[in-house]
């Protein structure tokens, strides 16, 4: 079995983000690391949107990023710390829209190891040196410089190792132009390791060590070490040199301290806390991330704590000495992994879980009533400052970047009864959890919908002059009339446009510099700017059947297949070409390309004829109207459209960088063909075919991201466009349309005006590049598992959160706290205290914004949520719902039961609980009603319906339960599983049981003997998270470390079972490798790189073949596709092999080694790697293709075919 792995949606979890001027222009950009993906984002200050400019899969784990700029330079480079055992410096090349490797230096083994650097990066603020550190011992410093031709150079590494030392954080201190200094938070464990009394470990303190790089002597010295009072997690460098006092801020639990060399005394202040916080008072507060901002005159930091509250931190400096730290509560946003303040006044926050946000900083919080806490304020020991929460005041959210991270589960089903199945994905954590329903398609925003009198048969938008930015008219054609609407504040009918209103229109557009053109059945109407009208009448009884128009050329087809051509001369006059051309059959459709910049005409006219052909006609004056090439079609064409696509980036297309003409042919059977037009000969080549829908395909040219795109309308509408230099064909998630045209106005610069039935709709396509269109349903708690009831199209989600109060406990605590407020007040303040308590009781802080209060260890809240109708049941405090199954028991076949596995007083580390419960609910009329609770000795973490009964895994026991009157009844059990059962899936009488550490076990249920027999298992230890059956003998297993394996039972295992109907042999014949007597074979294995959370074998496109779809915690969705022929496998294997050497992963990780991270990769070809072929430059592509005995377009086509056969 060979599989092809493809990522449908890349990870959306930003682990680290940095900003800088990577293009070398004034514009600030963001580089975000999303696990194995590197992405360049550009926040647009005008529209307040974040645009993704390029994404690159690096096939390695990006652990940290650091931008730097050489002194005097204007362009930022980025250093990557990864698991490759190498340091990589990248430069972004705007003209190619790619990252390029400038330097790559090897220093150690690959992998996320303890002593191999790559975890920490720190750069000198002046860009003179970079330190790359490991979690323990090793630190290397590289000196960065320029050579004579101003290229970046990197020195050999200088060691700053210290054994037995765990590093917590590394930063580069701003020391101006003195020798670069790096500060590290370290803990030395040597003493603790050698002290049997255990005292040393308790007295070990963290140390702050400064390493100085002596640029003169070219070595690194440990300059200074000081012991810290408490453990710290983060260092923040303070601007130095001319910009500030230099030094660092040390963030520890509950405290923040300013430190510097010399005479500077430490300045320490407690971290303020929320006033009247319901959280466990013993919890400390940590700062999790910061963003610094400095201008010539001032600098400040935003620092965020674990609860999401941001503080603005400033330092007061007197005589170059810092005298105090000032903290002011700023706003509360979701907990971020990175925050970035941009010069344009925006704050980009990449959430550690959930959607990322871009905020506009409306106020800096300088002049408001918010109290400013200062380190000079005196506090008693153990006291701290308090602030009150409030909704956003200083920040205004302007954009949200969707992120599915963390996905906890996914199931593909068609509950909405559409022809395409939907993906139901549970994601998010805590109060921001959601269930998202994903459909393949582009989200469409409806800007306006208006009714029209009758059913139109065409719509166009017209500008008044070629230089106009926006469209002036919308022209709608009806059976017997034409309606002209002007676009302004509102859309109104006008009659002074010059268009003929009494006849239906075939086409109309702006032509020349400032003239308008209308083509109708009996003639062509050319309206000059001064409203002079030139008419051309169709000869005799012939009428115009079709036309094709661009800015300077008009081609019309008369009935009977006669072609007439006009071209505009310099005076703006339309002149008919002296000859006409007759075709043997009727012209059905025609299209002409747009005039290339700097030229007078487009040389190609495509004509689709009733004899199942498309002909290219030359419009060049030397051979005008001569045929150039022809393509035969399987059926009658419906529509043609020539678009010029090529460079996706708008700035480039302005420079006229070569773009390619594509001829799109829509056929009457609903198929779209797309061919590349040779720019000289007009030959059509590299034809791609795609089935779009059941109706004939109509094509319309629209503008997307300032470049031409094609909108194809069938029973579904599709948009073919270039995005990040990759051509895409994506369906629109919208109603079926009849006609469309590009639309551009002030409010909607790149929209579409369309006709659907008798309505005129203006649509905007905003989330370009998104694979899925999302529908979101909010959940209360982190979804752990969910189950789909196909019969009733319903869905049950169980959510539970650790360190969390249930609603009832919360209100109890609130009351308690209010009481304390009143009691603690003295007599004279009693009145005031009462008021405060009352307002506290009435205050509702939405948990979605401020987070849930954190309870103590071992406290849980759970809820069961039913989707339709929306119903949620809360469980008691400290009951954790961890599993769910929907079951129809054989004993009551017409009733649906929901069984929820609950842990009582679950403690995670060390793992313990006071048993479990199985709550059985009856689902009646869309309501859940509790039937009974069954007590079990351990936590039921996995359950599944099985032959009219219920299979439950509690701890190491697998049991079959049946429904009883007072509780579920045990029918059969097997107690021999190694640690803890986490997944169960079944097919027929076979069950696969996934263990938390010991991979899967194949179990056969013997109904006659009522016995569960483990007859085979796996030889590798896998930390199973998801399993699924591929067929009766083959399964897929996903694990915590990010590997997917396909296991198969060999034929002889099958036979033995059939021959041995008692199963007794397998049952007694234990002992091979401490497990079952028979072992499954490994068929395929692959490293995904992210924790696999779900696996399912299904089809995701209508008419597609079955594939294995997986989702990961980081929010990526991918598929594994089976190969159908040996030749294909060979081809892709060779392609992958060549790409590995020609296009080695950019961060320096060996591709094969990466895909074999925990288990050697076997029989899986990396489609993501193969698809990078399309991103290679032309010459590389050609040499590579030559080695494979193919042409580059053939390879691209094969790649596309592989994708579209199973997915999108």
């Amino acid at each position: 079995m060979y599989l092809y792995s493809l990522t449908l949606q890349k990870s959306s979890c930003i682990t680290c983000a940095v900003h800088g001027n990577f293009s070398g222009t004034k514009q600030q950009e963001i580089i975000a690391a999303k696990g194995k993906v590197l992405e360049l984002l550009r926040p647009d200050a005008n529209s307040g949107k974040v645009h993704s400019i390029t994404t690159l899969e690096v096939f390695g784990e990006i652990r940290c990023l650091a931008p730097f700029r050489l002194t005097g330079g204007s362009k930022d480079y980025v250093v990557i710390g990864s698991d490759s055992g190498r340091i990589t410096i990248l430069e972004y090349i705007p003209s190619k829209n790619t990252f390029e490797k400038i330097h790559q230096e090897t220093f150690g083994k690959s992998g996320c190891r303890r002593i191999v650097p790559g975890q920490y990066l720190a750069v000198d603020p002046k860009g003179r040196a970079v330190m790359i550190g490991a979690m323990e011992k090793q630190k290397l410093v590289y000196i960065l410089n320029r050579d004579t031709s101003a290229r970046l150079t990197i020195s050999s590494p200088l060691e700053a190792h210290k054994s037995h030392t765990v590093v917590f954080s590394v930063v580069g201190i701003d020391v101006g132009f003195e020798n670069p200094v790096f500060a590290c938070l370290e803990v030395d464990y040597e003493e603790a390791d050698n002290d049997p009394t255990g005292e040393a470990a308790l007295t070990t303190r963290q140390m702050l060590t400064y390493y100085e790089l002596d640029l003169g002597l070219n070595h690194v010295v440990r300059k200074f070490t000081e012991t810290l009072q408490d453990f710290s997690n983060m260092l923040i460098p303070v601007p130095g040199g001319n910009d500030g006092p230099s030094g660092i801020l040390v963030c520890s639990e509950n405290f923040i301290t300013y430190k510097n060399f010399g005479d500077q005394p430490d300045i320490r202040m407690p971290i303020p806390r929320r006033r009247y916080d319901l959280s466990d008072p013993d919890r400390g507060i940590l700062f999790v991330c910061y963003a610094g901002h400095k201008t010539k005159s001032l600098f400040f930091f935003f620092i965020q704590n674990e609860q999401g509250d941001i503080f603005k931190l400033t330092l007061t400096v007197e005589d170059d000495m810092v005298s105090s730290i000032k903290l002011k509560y700023f706003d509360t946003i979701p907990v971020a992994s990175s925050m970035i303040v941009l010069k344009t006044g925006f704050l980009f926050a990449s959430s550690e879980f959930g959607n990322h946000h871009l905020y506009q900083i409306a106020h800096l919080g300088d002049n408001d009533e918010e109290t400013e806490f200062s380190s000079t304020m005196l506090l008693d020991e153990g006291e701290t400052f308090y602030y009150s929460l409030r909704p956003l005041k200083n920040l205004v959210e302007v954009d949200e970047v969707d992120s599915l991270c963390p996905i906890t589960g996914c199931q593909v089903a068609d509950l909405a009864n559409e022809d395409t199945p939907q993906l139901y994905v549970s994601c998010g954590r805590g109060p921001n959890s959601t269930l998202r329903i994903l459909r393949h398609g582009l989200e469409v925003t409806e800007m306006a919908v208006s009714e029209l009198p009758g059913n139109p048969n065409g719509v166009w938008t017209v500008k008044t002059s070629a230089s106009a930015e926006y469209d002036a008219y919308i022209v709608v054609s009806f059976v017997n009339a034409t309606l002209v609407l002007s676009i302004g504040e509102s859309v109104e009918e006008v009659s002074d446009s010059g268009f003929l209103g009494t006849t239906p229109t075939l086409h109309c557009c702006q032509i020349g510099d400032d003239a308008l053109l209308q083509v109708y059945a009996n003639g062509i109407r050319h309206v000059r700017a001064d409203k002079r009208v030139n008419e051309w009448k169709a000869p005799g009884k012939k009428i115009i059947s079709k036309c094709a128009v661009n800015n300077r050329q008009v081609a019309i087809a008369l009935t009977g297949g006669e072609l007439v051509y006009f071209e505009m001369d310099l005076s703006g006059q339309l002149n008919e070409y002296t000859e006409r051309r007759e075709f043997s059959s009727e012209v059905i459709c025609m299209s002409i390309g747009s005039v290339p910049v700097g030229e007078k005409r487009c040389r190609f006219l495509a004509v689709g004829l009733a004899d199942h052909t498309v002909r290219m006609i030359s419009l060049d004056p030397s051979d005008c109207l001569q045929p150039m090439s022809m393509q035969a079609l399987p059926t009658v064409p419906e529509s043609l459209c020539i678009v010029a696509m090529g460079s996706g980036d708008s700035s480039e297309s302005e420079q006229g960088v070569l773009s390619t003409y594509y001829l799109n042919i829509g056929l009457q059977n609903g198929v779209l063909l797309r061919s590349v037009l040779d720019s000289v000969t007009g030959d059509m080549s590299d034809t791609r075919t795609r089935y779009l829908g059941s109706r004939p395909v109509r094509l319309f040219k629209v503008k997307i991201q300032n470049s031409e795109a094609v909108l194809a309308i069938s029973s579904r509408s599709w948009l073919g466009y270039m995005f990040q230099s990759v051509s895409r064909l994506t369906p629109l998630s919208y109603d079926a349309l009849d006609y469309a045209s590009g639309f551009s106005s002030d409010q909607c610069p790149e929209g579409v005006v369309s006709i659907a039935g008798d309505t005129l709709r203006i649509l905007a396509l905003e989330k370009l590049g998104a694979v899925f269109n999302q529908m979101t349903i909010n959940l209360k708690l982190t979804p752990r598992r969910f189950a789909i009831d196909q019969q009733n199209s319903n869905l049950v989600v169980v959510g539970s959160d650790h360190l969390c109060f249930t609603d009832s406990t919360k209100s109890e605590r609130k009351q308690q706290m209010a009481k304390e407020i009143i009691e603690s007040a003295g007599d004279e303040e009693a009145e005031l205290a009462k008021e405060v308590a009352e307002s506290f009781m009435n205050e509702v802080l939405p948990a979605t914004e401020f987070g849930e209060p954190k309870a103590g260890n071992g406290q849980w809240a759970s809820c069961i949520q039913l989707l339709a109708p929306d119903q949620s049941l809360e469980l008691d405090q400290d009951e954790a719902a961890l599993s769910v199954a929907i079951c129809r028991f054989a004993y009551k076949p017409d009733e649906t039961f929901v069984v929820v596995g609950v842990a009582k007083e679950l403690n995670l580390n060390p793992s313990s609980s006071s048993g479990g419960l199985m709550n059985t609910y009856r689902m009646a009329n869309g309501q859940l009603e509790l039937v009974h609770k069954t007590v079990v000795e351990e936590v039921p973490r996995a359950m599944a319906a099985f032959q009219g009964r219920l299979l439950v895994g509690t701890g190491r026991i697998l049991r079959v339960y049946d429904l009883g009157r007072k509780k579920l009844l045990r029918k059969c059990e097997n107690k021999n599983f190694p640690y803890r059962i986490v997944t169960i899936s079944s097919m027929g009488s076979r069950v696969i049981v996934g263990d938390v550490q010991e991979s899967v076990h194949f179990v056969k249920y013997r109904a006659k003997e009522n016995r569960l027999v483990v007859f085979a298992d796996d030889v590798s230890p896998r930390y199973v998270t998801a399993t699924c059956f591929l067929d009766y003998d083959t399964i897929a297993v996903g694990d915590k470390f990010g590997s997917i394996a396909i296991l198969r039972l060999s034929d002889d295992i099958n036979d033995e079972i059939e021959e041995d109907p008692t199963g007794a042999k397998a049952f007694w014949d234990r002992g091979l490798l401490n497990g079952a007597s028979q072992k499954a074979n490994l068929e395929a294995s692959f490293y995904i790189g992210e924790t696999v959370m779900s696996l399912q074998k299904t089809t995701i496109i209508p008419g597609g073949s079955e594939s294995l779809i997986y989702t990961t915690l980081s929010g990526s969705i991918g598929v594994l596709l089976p190969f159908t022929s040996r030749e294909e496998v060979d081809f892709f294997q060779h392609l992958e092999m060549h790409l590995r050497s020609e296009n080695a992963p950019i961060c320096g990780r060996d591709h094969l080694a990466y895909r074999s991270y925990y288990f050697p990769a076997k029989n899986v070809i990396d489609g993501d790697m193969c698809e990078q072929f399309n991103a290679l430059d032309g010459s590389k592509r050609r040499t590579l293709a030559m080695e494979l005995d193919r042409t580059p377009p053939e390879i691209s086509k094969k790649l596309e075919d592989m994708r579209t056969r199973y997915a999108f």
């Binding site: 979890c13 790559g118 054994s163 603790a192 390791d193 050698n194 997690n233 991330c289 674990e306 879980f353």
Partner: protein, 84 residues
């Protein structure tokens, strides 16, 4: 020659922390295993997210706690037995 191999092994042991030798005690081995494991958890962002999600803590907190645990992951070392 045996001496050369011996020095090579010693070099390895000093260069790569955690390389075992004939006299590695169970405690040392366990300590190395745990520290390596924590380092791997912190290095692979998805595993860190996994723990953060299960524990309902921030990723930074999980990272901080794991680093602190690296100080002494398996409790104090056993009393050294007097060698004869």
């Amino acid at each position: 020659d045996r001496y050369n191999i011996h020095s090579q092994v010693e070099h390895l042991q000093s260069k790569y922390v955690g390389t075992g030798h004939a006299d590695t005690t169970k405690y040392e081995w366990m300590n190395n295993q745990h520290r390596d494991t924590y380092a791997s958890f912190i290095g692979h962002h998805d595993l860190l997210s996994y723990f953060a999600l299960v524990d309902n803590e921030s990723r930074e907190r999980i990272r901080f706690v794991m680093l602190q645990k690296m100080l002494q992951p398996c409790g104090p070392p056993p009393e050294k037995l007097e060698t004869e």
